[in-house]
Amino acid sequence: MLNTRRGRLLKENLTAYLFLAPAGILILLFGLFPVAFAFFVSLHRWRRFPDNYIGLANYEKALGNLGYILFFWLALLAFAAALRVSRGLLQTLRRSETTNQSMPLLAGVVSGYAALLALDWFFKLIPVIMLIPRQVRGQNVSLALFMEKFGESFTSPGVYEAGNLMLLGFLAAAAALALALWRFRSDSSAEVIVRSGIATTLMLAAVFLLRLTIDQTNLAIAAARDSGEALPIWSQLVFVSAGVGLIASAYVIFQRGIRAQSNQRFALLVLSGLSLAVGGYLLMAEAPAALSAADDDLLQGFWVTVMYAGGTVPVQLTIGLLLAYLLFQPIRFRSFFRMVYFIPYITPFVATSIVFRVIFDAGKTAPANRMLAIVGIEPQRWILERSSIGSLLGLPDFLAGPALALIVIMIYSTWTYIGYDAVIFLAGLGNISGELYEAARIDGANGWRIFRHITLPLLSPTIFFLSLVAIIGTFQAFTQIWILRTGAVGSKVNTASVFIFDELQNSNRYGYASSMAFVLFALILLMTLFQNRIMGRRVFYG
């Protein structure tokens, strides 16, 4: 039946999936499940064990009204994605007008629905399994007992019905798929099935998110009205969205403007500026109000995270590149240097942090203060200093910057990663062909010009990679701060991760902590996509 090309294709697909299976299963278990689970938990009041469902209340606690607004955007995003997939689907259908695609279409829709039924069943089952430890209290706990309860949880009320529904869905999906593949198969049917399946899933997810948002918003507005206040979520939604939209369009217009002809160019640039100004005004006017009920500590955590990333990533990359560039010169002991620079990266945090605490101690005899004394500067309190670097230098408030203690942590983090960066930069430099340098030198270019016009562009993939890793790393930064912070500095050095961990550990409010962690995840994802767009465009692939 199958021609050889199709047979080979099928075989290649199967082999590939087989190759991927171990990694895929593990990533599903230890990468994707945690995210879905965290989202599920974040919709509940949840301490160590599941409590009741509270919708978006945790997000409201974390971000104020912005929580609702973000979810509204998320729902819109899901709709947009669903529409995009649907458009592709329509194109496919139009292309293959001659064949009957109704069965594959149906199969896709049913499969998508079945997938959601499976998700529904799964998240009804998980809380029941989680609660098993409560059931076995006061008994002689044994593996057999746990497994018995585990078996029972599949037939517990709610889970059982959902399980049956899921099975029904799977049966229907299997039947539809079988029919679609054996009776109505054409070249494009697989595509139709996949696209319609994804479109259905996305559409249902969007509806769910929208329902969630609207229900919760209305509840919150009603509650506010009962207590005699107004809660202008909807107007905030419109204004904040318009603000963000205008700023985004300002960027798009600006990009178009600098590429346009001169007379058009001016108009576009003016339009861009106008759009930016109005958008910025809307955001500045409305965002504080939308955030007014947010958790101040979380917002501060985000701000600290941004300062931390901004203070470490560029410094670390610049010094790393400088060292690598020097190491790349014709010098002796290169491998010795390379080896030594890597040592901070391989030494455990627990060990090195002790030394840094000694160096940056507040006492007069601490090494850092002794160095200052040589230059004639008064001893500083370093890891105990809550005041910002700006205020210590006597700068005005808006130039305050991070607390001195945070600077110490930045130094520590930079110290740890410079060697790692240098080694990778060195590898990147090694990959640049020597002929280019020769050519440049023959053209009379000097050292700096060669660096600027040959080395940097050709190194841009490495720079891109390292900055991506570094930014993701700093946004998740936890251990460095956790082990170097002191009580005297308080929350001034708590990045979002540290703050969330405190919440998890001290008060065991998993639901709330999960909602904040989810927001952090969304932020990191957004940042990465943004960086990909902005920087990725400038990367030069030689």
């Binding site: 990694a23 996949v194 014709p330 627990v350 060990a351 990147g428 993701i472 936890f478 990191i524």
Partner: protein, 325 residues
């Protein structure tokens, strides 16, 4: 020959251009060495003080002296005794002196075992996956790859509780299938399996596999080889350096892991060295800094030795994966 070339322009081969005019005194070179040695001082200064402090008396450490007056080797003995780092029990037959049994225990031994399993498992899982992404065509390849990459952006704290739940219940399932040895909790699976599928490793290997010339694959296919055979007999022998890179990075990560092992080990049977060190350092009673430093040095030595041995291939591997997005 003309090793005194001062130009800041690098040459790819590490050899300076032959026609460079010789110069009598080379300020540029001196500056380069000055910066590099300053870098060395900063990079290992803290580490050297750690070693120095590990030989000091308590009051010498408290005064932040640079060097100890006398080398107090007994600090190491005390640290080794207080923290259960390594315990080797040799049982020989008293009559013949023949070795009967060799019992090794302690945190260092645990860490070695955990690290070996993690790195091996990671290779077994990541190599085929990276190969599939690099050299095979299948439906959803880009989507799945993007999905894999997106998991790198998840903050670690999100994972803590779900990972615990997964480990608890998968462990129970496996225990009822394989008996007590199949347990995950407080056993090697909880400490290693979650780290097998490292997206970073998959990414790194994929970069390397992509660069392998297509001619090799064509030739292998004409010989009748499929993907599995091509992977084992052609790709792997070519990939020694990148594999060494991920082995080294895996060793470092696994040796230094703290938070997760702390939560899933409840006795010393599998507790790794970083947890042992942390417990030693953060005890509820005032600790002695010199002993803590000695314990830290003990912790670092094995990983440092490994890096010295592997560093050549490690760096080679990084340059061969030619990190491009």
């Amino acid at each position: 020959m003309a090793s005194d070339n001062a130009g800041l322009a690098p040459s790819a081969t590490g050899k300076p251009p032959a026609e460079a005019p010789p110069q009598p005194i080379d300020l540029g070179r001196i500056a380069i060495y000055a910066v590099l040695f300053a870098g060395v001082l900063i990079a290992i200064g803290p580490f050297l003080w750690m070693i120095s402090a590990s030989f000091m008396t308590l009051s010498e450490v408290n005064l932040t002296r640079l060097l100890p007056e006398n080398l107090l080797w007994e600090n190491y003995a005390t640290a080794l005794r207080r923290a259960n780092f390594l315990d080797i029990e040799v049982v020989t037959d008293p009559a013949t002196g023949v070795l009967q049994s060799l019992g090794v225990s302690g945190y260092i031994w645990n860490s070695i075992r955990i690290t070996l399993i993690t790195v091996t498992g990671s290779l077994l899982v990541c190599i085929p996956a990276a190969y599939a992404f690099a050299r095979m065509n299948f439906i959803g390849r880009n989507f799945i790859f993007a999905l894999f990459l997106s998991t790198m952006m998840i903050p670690g704290i999100v994972m803590l509780i779900p990972h615990l739940l997964t480990v608890i219940w998968l462990g129970r399932l496996s225990e009822s299938l394989f008996g007590p040895a199949g347990a995950w909790f407080n056993n090697w699976p909880a400490l290693t399996i979650p780290f097998f599928a490292s997206v970073f490793n998959i990414f790194l290997l994929r970069q390397f596999f992509i660069q392998i010339p297509d001619d090799l694959w064509e030739a292998a296919r004409i010989d009748g080889a499929g993907h599995p055979r091509f992977l084992i007999s052609v790709v792997l022998p070519l990939s020694k350096a990148p594999i060494m890179t991920i082995v080294t990075l895996g060793f470092i990560g696994s040796w230094n892991a703290l938070m997760w092992p702390l939560l899933v080990t409840i006795n010393d049977e599998w507790r790794p060295i970083a947890v042992g060190l942390s417990n030693f350092v953060t005890a509820d009673t005032p600790g002695d800094l010199n002993l803590q430093m000695a314990a830290s040095v003990i912790t670092v030595i094995p990983i440092l030795m490994l890096y010295f041995l592997a560093q050549k291939q490690f760096t080679e591997g990084i340059s061969q994966t030619g990190i491009k997005s």
